[in-house]
Symmetry: C2
Subunit: 202 residues, 2 copies
């Protein structure tokens, strides 16, 4: 059986990433969405294994110490990260896995798994992103300004990704991410074993 493909998907907040991802997952039940682990307490309505895998600090640190985290970060006294084992189990079972992850964690996973395919979803412009956040009418302007500044910092790191897709029109963006995910399976970095196989002596 062929090993599955690991996809790293990043996008600034307000880029429509969650909508794009839910469309992609809905269309292909063979793709597994990796659930992050955290040591923070579950909030009202959150389900263990769906929103997050809720772990004790001891268990999380044990995973860090034994190389069990593909990446992790500490934020406001809590740990957040991607447990390695569930990802590799799915890949080895031939399933594709999507990690939805911010740019710092993404960089760590790219180093740990050079065969991962990374896709950065861009807003059409910072101005559009700001307009979208303003029109949601849920956040004060200071929060929006901070989010746009954060988006700018993240977009500057888009250069590290294999692919960039602009979400201007949602249907177009979903279709482009799907095409990229499919074609990326032909990337040479995913096919070293295939090339070796072709070269086997007659």
């Amino acid at each position: 059986m062929n090993r599955g493909t690991l996809y790293i998907i990043s996008a600034p907040s307000g880029t429509g990433k969650s909508t794009i991802l839910s469309e992609i997952l809905r269309a292909d039940p063979n793709i597994h969405f990796s659930v992050s682990a955290t040591t923070r307490a579950p909030r009202e309505g959150e389900t263990d294994g769906v929103d997050y895998c809720f772990l004790s600090k001891e268990r999380f640190k044990e995973l860090i110490d034994t190389g069990g985290m593909l990446e992790y970060a500490e934020f406001c006294g809590n740990f957040y990260g991607t447990p390695r084992q569930p990802v590799y189990d799915k890949l080895n079972a031939g399933k594709d896995v999507i990690l939805e992850i911010e740019t710092v964690g993404a960089k760590k996973v790219m180093s740990a798994c050079p065969e991962a395919v990374s896709i950065f979803i861009l807003p059409p412009s910072l101005k559009t992103l700001k307009d979208r956040l303003v029109s949601r009418n849920t956040d004060p302007i200071e929060v929006i300004e901070r989010r746009v500044a954060e988006a700018e910092r993240e977009i500057n790191l888009a250069q590290n990704y294999d692919y960039v897709v602009v979400n201007d029109d949602l249907d177009a963006a979903v279709s482009e991410v799907k095409s990229v995910m499919k074609a990326a399976k032909k990337m040479t970095k995913l096919n070293h074993d295939l090339i070796k196989g072709v070269l086997e002596k007659c």
Copy 2:
């Protein structure tokens, strides 16, 4: 207007490259096929500008000296190469350009044009390649053995390419090369200006 995309396509002899390319060119008249230049004399039935651009040695050397060749090689006393100007004219006019080129020339073009998208077409195995060449029944076994050895040398360089596609079933291979060509337009290396544009201040 968006600049066109430059595609480098290589494949060992006997891999069905010409058939795949003619299918791709037939399906999309917006793709331009770059015609190589040579200083050798035209053979019976060859048309200037179609099979090759036939150039005098003086003109070819002048192009080399003025940086007018993307790559070139000398073979049996004649020069063969890819004139830069026609390729760039088409790209600047928004057309995609395919260079069908062997591995040494391909490497030179990859260095000169890092934004080129390179695709290597593989046979399913060296054994299949040999069987195909034998079943054509046009070459003595010594020639076939030499071709298979040459294919082996070239396939060892497939690692340098962005993508590899196996031609096992022709229709599948054509469809895969088309998908790769389309999705490759989202590669980050082709979209530095797009990212810069997104970052422009609100």
